[in-house]
Amino acid sequence: DAGVTQSPTHLIKTRGQQVTLRCSPKSGHDTVSWYQQALGQGPQFIFQYYEEEERQRGNFPDRFSGHQFPNYSSELNVNALLLGDSALYLCASSSSGTANTEAFFGQGTRLTVV
């Protein structure tokens, strides 16, 4: 089991562009959460997807959107990129239920906006 896999590992985009990040959950997991981790900070919750729907959302603007596919993989889309969107984006998967179940994290995608 490869665990949670994210692609790409690194990405450079220009301000105003759009970006799509991808995540495949750990085998047996059906829930995917996305986090943004700025330099020197802890991960900040963006949203969680379960049964192909956004189940909970953090304090992020509508420029951040997502999708979950029938195979439980997920995408994070960010429109109209700002310099401040530069961060490490982490995907975490878990089994359906509350956040009390253990979250398994991917290695992350490092996004740089120039």
């Binding site: 969680q48 909970q56 509350t98 956040a99 979250a103």
Partner: protein, 109 residues
Amino acid sequence: AQRVTQPEKLLSVFKGAPVELKCNYSYSGSPELFWYVQYSRQRLQLLLRHISRESIKGFTADLNKGETSFHLKKPFAQEEDSAMYYCALSGLGDYKLSFGAGTTVTVRA
């Protein structure tokens, strides 16, 4: 609103010495508390959770509701404990984890 505070950005201890990482939280209710660890070049992973009351790799953490703290302790630090440690909280019925800013621990020989 829920908030997790880790007052120490950096912590340096000698091998064999005790280590304590502080974590304070604010939450109006009964939270679930976690410690996550990230070793060099590895992904973030769960170290322990208060509900399990386990000792993992010699680490323990006690939830003190009166002081709203969940400090992580180990009596004898080892070099392999050098890592970034994050305290995290989840509220009742909540699906998200709220993380602190993290503490970098360096264990010196």
